[in-house]
């Protein structure tokens, strides 16, 4: 029976990680429902971007308050995870503070984890205040109602609870060490939790062990829960920010992709030798749909973008259309894409791996033409995103579908395009008058 805790721990670990692996494979399957993207070029630059933007958080600090607080939580998350390694090994082997053999290094590590844990608690509290007391505008846009708002707060609560458990565990441990309890050899330094320890004074060793063990178990169980919560939350960015910045756009922001399918058509039209009446070859592939009306029409990088979005709303708060009260919100474009992709994924799961038409699509059922037409293509959203998400590319792909597949452009734009077609300018002026300005005084 003495190995029961070890067995329970291993089972918990296997279930927790197993479920996570399952979620990751579902995530991967959904992302690769997207079309191919040419992102294999310029690997050195891509690594550099990932190191600078994701690892180095370079774009977070554009907004200094949120940026610095975020870096604290991020560094805390990454570094305190070293402690999780020890917790896992202790759990499996039934040891206590296995890394204590590191001596002064261990003291330093535990000490810094504690300081970080406290800083994380402070940051999380400030984040909560920003969302719930100060009520920053960007957290209160229509797309944030309901689950997204709850999700944002839940994440903060989980992080807070995990940090409090971590410090409680250390505090009780410290107290036990002071009392010379069995199994609790003096190890680690406790610059923060030593302030909690006085609360435990007068308690019996068995009570303290119970507190320490409970905090230890709930802490690791909480971490495994959080790991699996990610997939159902906006919080996937802690993992996906890395691939997303790696696969981010490398060309100038103003450069929009030229559609190859259109290039092929245009080349044929311009080719004097092409037979305009030629029948397509019998085995000719069905021509590509122009633009995007559903998630499968987008590239897998755009779908990765959607899962990476953590709904911070920096894009929306910089968007000129949104600032002036239009319906367009770049964040909503990303959230809608993700929600529709999830729906399509569930549809595939329910139909033995095959997507059954559900009479819905991203266009109209999620994103309306009114939103799409409000975009000025100014790239403010792309610039604002701290992890290289490109909402503009989705907007443009959907406009292409509206115009080239549905001829559903606003009348004014049809007039503009008619003018370009007929006289080479967006206004109804004759091309032959193009140089008249040089003769006017």
């Amino acid at each position: 029976m003495q190995y029961l805790p070890n067995i329970i721990f291993v089972v918990l670990l296997i279930v927790g990680i197993g479920f996570f692996v399952k979620n990751v494979s579902r995530l991967k399957r959904n992302i690769f429902l997207g079309k191919e993207a040419s992102v294999t070029d310029n690997k050195p630059q891509r690594w550099k971007n990932m190191v600078k933007i994701a690892l180095g958080q370079s774009k977070m600090v554009v907004r200094p308050i949120a940026g610095v607080l975020h870096i604290i939580v991020y560094v805390g998350f990454v570094i305190i995870n070293i402690e999780v390694l020890e917790i896992i090994l202790d759990g499996i082997f039934g040891t206590h503070r296995m890394f204590a053999v590191l001596g002064p290094v261990y003291d330093f590590l535990i000490g810094s984890f504690e300081v970080l844990a406290l800083l994380v608690i402070i940051a999380v509290v400030v984040f909560w205040i920003r969302r719930n007391v100060i009520k920053l505008k960007r957290f209160f846009k229509p797309e944030m109602e309901g689950w997204p708002k709850k999700d944002g707060n839940l994440i903060l609560y989980i992080e807070l609870v995990l940090m409090v458990l971590f410090l409680t565990m250390n505090g009780a441990d410290y107290q036990l060490q002071q009392m010379g309890a069995e199994h609790y050899a003096a190890a680690g330094s406790f610059p923060i939790s030593s302030f909690i320890a006085p609360m435990f004074e007068g308690m019996s060793i068995s009570t303290l062990v119970l507190i320490e063990r409970t905090a230890w178990w709930v802490h690791i169980a909480g971490i495994l829960f959080f790991l699996n919560y990610l997939y159902y939350s906006k919080h996937l960015h802690i993992l996906l920010a890395f691939p997303n910045t790696y696969y981010g756009k490398l060309t100038p922001k103003g450069q929009f992709r030229n559609l190859q399918s259109v290039t092929d058509e245009v080349k044929m039209m311009m080719d004097p030798d092409a037979d305009p009446y030629a029948e397509p070859a019998e085995d000719a592939a069905v021509p590509d749909k122009f633009g995007a009306s559903d998630v499968q029409d987008l590239s897998w990088v755009q779908l990765l973008n959607a899962y990476t979005c953590t709904e911070c709303g920096r894009c929306t708060s910089e968007c000129p259309a949104n600032q002036t009260g239009k319906k367009l919100s770049p964040r909503k474009i990303m959230m809608d894409t993700r929600d529709r992709l999830e729906e399509v994924g569930k549809n595939i799961d329910a139909n033995n791996g095959e997507f059954k038409d559900d009479g819905k699509q991203l266009l109209n059922d999620f994103i309306t033409p009114e939103e799409l037409w409000a975009c000025t293509s100014c790239n403010a959203c792309v610039e604002a995103c701290p992890i290289s998400i490109d909402p503009l590319s989705i907007i443009m792909d959907m406009r292409q579908y509206l115009v080239m597949e549905q001829s559903a452009a606003p009348t004014d734009l049809n007039n503009m395009m008619g003018n370009i077609e007929n006289n080479g300018a967006p206004w109804p002026f004759n091309q032959m008058d193009r140089l008249n300005w040089s003769k006017e005084s």
């Binding site: 100038p252 450069q255 030229n258 002036t324 367009l328 000025t376 503009m416 370009i420 080479g424």
Partner: protein
């Protein structure tokens, strides 16, 4: 006032068997829009003064296709692009300067994939080079000490990372350059991009150009400097809407230089 403009065409250069230093891509706004034509002329005056050997395509120029592409009509864009590229390649054009950031962006970034490879510069970059090479001199003239704020065109700034050339020119005019609260990477759009210029805005609380004009007016400028014919129109409309046209001028940087040099 200065003498008549010298505006040679590519066809004339070709006929005489010579090549100009640079092609000036005028653009649709620069050719047809009354306000933008003034910018075109101001830029040509500077080119004439500096004895730059340049040419325009004139009636052989056609829309780059930018508004069609941003409106979602990739077909029309590519038809325009390949037609223009055929003309440009036939004349063996190497370098292009334009006063329109939309033409600049499209030719620079989107034409290479379709067979059009040129060195493309915005007119503020070109003017800066002329200045550095000593081909034009700039005295502040009547701009000395004036409060000037610069509105970054999205397709010059964020889209292509050109922030300093226009600012350097303003500083050269001995003017006091004051930045708006959102500028450079975070500059707010004027509201014309993405083919918005050619349509009514969607329903909202406010027009984008009014919002941007308010930001500009907060700096208490005497001049709002622009580097794009569409921004120019939007900001001019914004200033009129605020009934400030008596106090605040909206000017392209080329116009400012031409005025300072009394061209």
């Amino acid at each position: 006032m200065a003498s008549e403009l010298k505006v040679p065409t590519m066809a004339e250069f070709f006929a005489s068997g010579t090549v100009p230093e640079v092609l000036f891509w005028v653009g649709c706004a620069g050719s047809f829009d009354d306000r933008a034509k003034k910018i075109t002329k101001a830029f040509v005056k500077i080119l004439n003064k500096a004895n730059v050997s340049f040419a325009v395509l004139g009636t052989e120029e056609s829309c780059t296709g930018d508004p069609a592409k941003r409106a979602g009509n990739e077909f029309l864009f590519q038809m325009q692009a390949v037609t223009n590229i055929e003309v440009l390649n036939a004349y063996e054009i190497k370098k292009i300067v334009t006063a329109c950031p939309h033409c600049f962006n499209t030719i620079k970034n989107e034409y290479p994939g379709l067979g059009g490879n040129y060195e493309v510069v915005h007119h503020t970059q070109f003017l800066k080079d002329l200045l550095n090479d000593g081909r034009i001199s700039m005295e502040g003239g009547n701009f000395k000490g004036k409060r000037i704020t610069f509105h970054d065109p999205c397709y010059l700034g964020r889209a292509n990372g050109v922030y300093e050339a226009p600012r350097d020119l303003i500083r050269k005019l001995d003017a006091e350059l004051i930045e708006m609260k959102s500028c450079k990477q975070r500059g707010l759009c004027c509201g014309a991009g993405g083919a918005q210029m050619f349509k009514e805005p969607e329903k909202g609380d406010k027009d984008v150009n009014i919002e941007r004009t308010e930001q500009a007016l907060e700096t208490k400028p005497e001049i709002i400097a622009a580097g794009c014919p569409f921004c120019n129109t939007m900001m001019t409309d914004g200033v009129k809407n605020k009934e400030k046209e008596g106090d605040v001028q909206v000017m392209d940087i080329a116009e400012m230089i031409a005025t300072a040099e009394d061209l």
